[in-house]
Symmetry: D3
Subunit: 71 residues, 6 copies
Amino acid sequence: MSIQSINVRNQFRGKVKEIIHGPVVSEIDVETPHGIVTSVITTRSVEELQLRIGSEVIALVKSTEVSIAKV
Amino acid sequence: MSIQSINVRNQFRGKVKEIIHGPVVSEIDVETPHGIVTSVITTRSVEELQLRIGSEVIALVKSTEVSIAKV
Amino acid sequence: MSIQSINVRNQFRGKVKEIIHGPVVSEIDVETPHGIVTSVITTRSVEELQLRIGSEVIALVKSTEVSIAKV
Amino acid sequence: MSIQSINVRNQFRGKVKEIIHGPVVSEIDVETPHGIVTSVITTRSVEELQLRIGSEVIALVKSTEVSIAKV
Amino acid sequence: MSIQSINVRNQFRGKVKEIIHGPVVSEIDVETPHGIVTSVITTRSVEELQLRIGSEVIALVKSTEVSIAKV
Amino acid sequence: MSIQSINVRNQFRGKVKEIIHGPVVSEIDVETPHGIVTSVITTRSVEELQLRIGSEVIALVKSTEVSIAKV
C-alpha cells in the first residue's frame, strides 16, 4: 500500500550497503550522505520489500524513540 | 554518570536548534549534518541535562527502532 | 515524500475519530473496522499531515514494538 | 504474575497462527479480527508463556509506538 | 481485561510516588525497592487505571527497548 | 565516543550474567539489585562493546518505553 506522507519526522534517505540475514530478524545498514544508519527489521519484511544491496530506501525513526546525550 | 560507550549504533552529533517545552515531554530539534533530527524526551530530562539552544548533543537511536521504506 | 512500501507489518486502516491536542504531542484515535487504535505523535506532525476528524489514515506498528500476553 | 489491567491502550485479541523460532527472538503471528498482527519477542518468553499454534493471546501496543500515515 | 502472564521480561514492582499530569501524556514515577522507575503513558490511561499516589503497580519494559552501555 | 550524561531516566547498573548469541541480535541478561534486567541488542554491538560475562554495564530504558500495569 503506497503511503502519501507519514508522521515520522526523522527520515534518512540512502542505499542499502549491507544486509545480515537472520532466521527471524535481519540487520540492514543504509549508506546515507552522512554515514551509516542501522535498522533491525523482520526477515519477512526484507523479502517482501525485496531489499538488495543498492536498493534505494528511507530509514525512518519516530521522535519518541530518539534519546539525547550530552558530550 | 558518564558512559564510556553504548550499544546504540545510530548516533547523530549536532547542536540543539529548537526546544518546544511541554508540561511532561518536550520536543528537541537537533541540527546535524543529516539535517534536523527530532527527539521527544521528558521535560525533567531537558532540565537535568541543562539543554539550551546551541548545546552540543548526540541524538541516539537503537537499531530495533528504525523502520525501512522503499521509495 | 511518498513511500511505495514500508517494512512495518502491522497496518490498521481507518478514519481519525478524535484528536487530543497537546503543546508537544497529541493523541490520535483512529476508528478501524475492528475498534479504536490509539497513537501519540508530535503535534507538529499532526499539523504537517493536516490531520482532521475523518481523515483517512493508516496506523503503523513495527513488530518489535508488539508484546504478547496470555489471557 | 497476573495483571489486573494495563495502560497499554491497543489490545488485539486472537489466536497464535504461526511461530518462527529463532535463537534469540521469535516471530509470533496472531490471527485477530483486524487480520494478522505480528510480534517479535524473545524466544525465552515464547517458551515461558508456552505459546503454541492456537494459544489464545492478546497483542499489546503502547500508543507512543504507533505511527500515523496518510493514504 | 485481566492478563494471566505477559512476554515482557523486565517487571519492576512498586508504588506510585509521583504523577506529573499533562493534557495528552503524564509522567509516572514508581518507587521500587531499588530506586525510581519513570514511565510516560497517556493521561487517559492514568484515569482509566485510576492511578493515585500509593497505587501498587508494575512497571514493564520489553527487552528490545533496553540499551546497554559500558561504564 | 564517551557520553557525559544522557536523558534516559531509567538506568540499572549491574554485571552481565548471561549472553545468548544470535546471528543478528543477542540477548544480554544483566544482574542488578532489581534482579535480572534483559536486553536485546545487535550482535555487532555486543562485539564492539566487548561484552563478556562479568562486564560492568548500565541497562538503559527511555521513559516512553515503560508501560504500567495494576496488580
